[in-house]
Symmetry: C2
Subunit: 269 residues, 2 copies
């Protein structure tokens, strides 16, 4: 095992653009860190694909990040974190952080009535990955999940404040109503951009858990424990790679990231 | 060149499930023909990908159909027909039919005022493939296009009669209103399932062109001209292949096809 060095970058991958909401939180919490982001835009979305396909693609994404000598890998994709995390961990000795465990842990702490709702893609919800993690913390918590496939294209159209977003949220979340949850996990990296409309539908008494924020906290904890935080105050290097359509990634990506993306490179995996 | 035989199957491919609306029309018009369908469900959708990626995938799909000794190839995918048809034709001596030209020709005949609107995925609309075909028939026709990315997931949710479908259609089609078209091409194989809601928004005076129906007619014409219509009255063989998630394909596919799908095989390309 090569000992990692604090100045090495953090590697982050997602099936596409959504992982940038996780990057946003990592930048906010760890502004000195260099980052390598890979968005697999040629094969997006992962959420509609089978477990074995998601595993295969995730391993390829991980191998790409490892060629950039990253010190830690963030799987900033709920579908890949749900089904491929063990497979990824078996391929590297670097620490690997998914978005499921941090989100699950935060939800367990937040839920006073032990009733947690989870929304995400078909793959994330049907994998029951959040449920399994939640039950590792506390087996007495009741969990209900609901897949919301229209949310991703609504965000990518920029319709976050449109009536269609509100009606779609109402339609999807209606079936959860009788479950009487007090905490909801936004189990897809696109969903933080729909926080306002989801808040309108679920009301003020539900705690919304943003897995991106929780994941960034865990990345900071691990790097701190391992003495791998970058002590340098020099401008960090942030590089973005995609497997297709770099221009579209830049255009929509800056909305997700809340800042300019200077350099995007298209690669073939 | 091997001379094709009337009893060989017709090969049809699409990025996923939408091509089944074309299959439905082929079955209606040519009930004696055996069919091989391939849906590239591991890599769906093509519409969000770059031209070079769509070409690469389409060539792989074509090669798969050719291994099944098909007599004619239908590219039942607007995105692939828009950008990859020449590439596909260069790889085989079998006749290749896309969905663009038949749809364009039917629209030209239908449009008395020479103003045609085209709706489809981002790739189809920005390729301007329908526009180019229309102008080959008549260069004086005015054309306007509008990409409608939410239509596909709305159909796949089965929300064809929901207010969300209506509002989304209104939102997308509003910008076309001032163009004053009399004919609209449904330039995506999912869209025939939204015909009712689109009709409500555009009114009774617009002719809606279903490329699937027009493509089936052209397939019949070509097979007739080449003496390749299957004369047998035996039950034809219809085989369905997908690259991922055969169960989901069966479930949604029967809604598209309007009949049972007996056998679906998952393959790796």
């Amino acid at each position: 095992m090569n000992t990692p060095h604090p100045q090495q970058p953090i590697g982050i991958f997602d099936s596409g653009i959504g992982g940038l909401t996780v990057v946003k939180e990592i930048i906010r919490l760890l502004p000195n860190e260099s980052l390598i982001y890979f968005g697999d835009t040629a094969r997006v979305p992962y959420g509609t694909k089978s477990d074995s396909t998601i595993k295969e693609y995730s391993v390829q994404d991980t191998k790409f990040l490892l060629t950039h000598n990253v010190k830690l890998i963030v799987v900033a994709c709920n579908s890949a974190s749900s089904v491929a995390l063990d497979e990824i961990k078996s391929r590297t000795d670097k620490p690997v952080v998914g978005v499921i465990k941090p989100g699950a842990e935060a939800a367990v702490i937040a839920s006073h009535h032990k009733r947690i709702a989870i929304i995400g893609t078909n793959a994330t919800v049907s994998s029951r990955a959040y449920e399994h993690e939640i039950h590792k913390f506390n087996s007495e918590i009741d969990v209900a999940g609901k897949a919301c496939p229209l949310f991703v294209p609504i965000v990518e159209e920029g319709w976050m404040d449109h009536e269609i977003a509100f009606l779609t949220a109402k339609e999807y979340l209606f079936s959860l109503k009788k479950f009487a949850y007090d905490t909801m996990i936004l189990g897809c990296t696109h969903y933080p951009l729909l926080k306002n409309v989801i808040r309108k539908v679920v009301g003020e008494n539900v705690t919304l858990i943003d897995s991106g924020i929780e994941t960034a906290k865990q990345v900071k904890n691990i790097l701190t424990e391992m003495n791998l935080l970058n002590p340098s105050n020099q401008k960090p290097n942030r590089k973005y790679f995609v497997s297709d359509l770099p221009h579209k990634f830049k255009e929509i990506g800056e909305m997700f990231l809340g800042e300019k993306i200077e350099r995007i490179t298209k690669i073939d995996l």
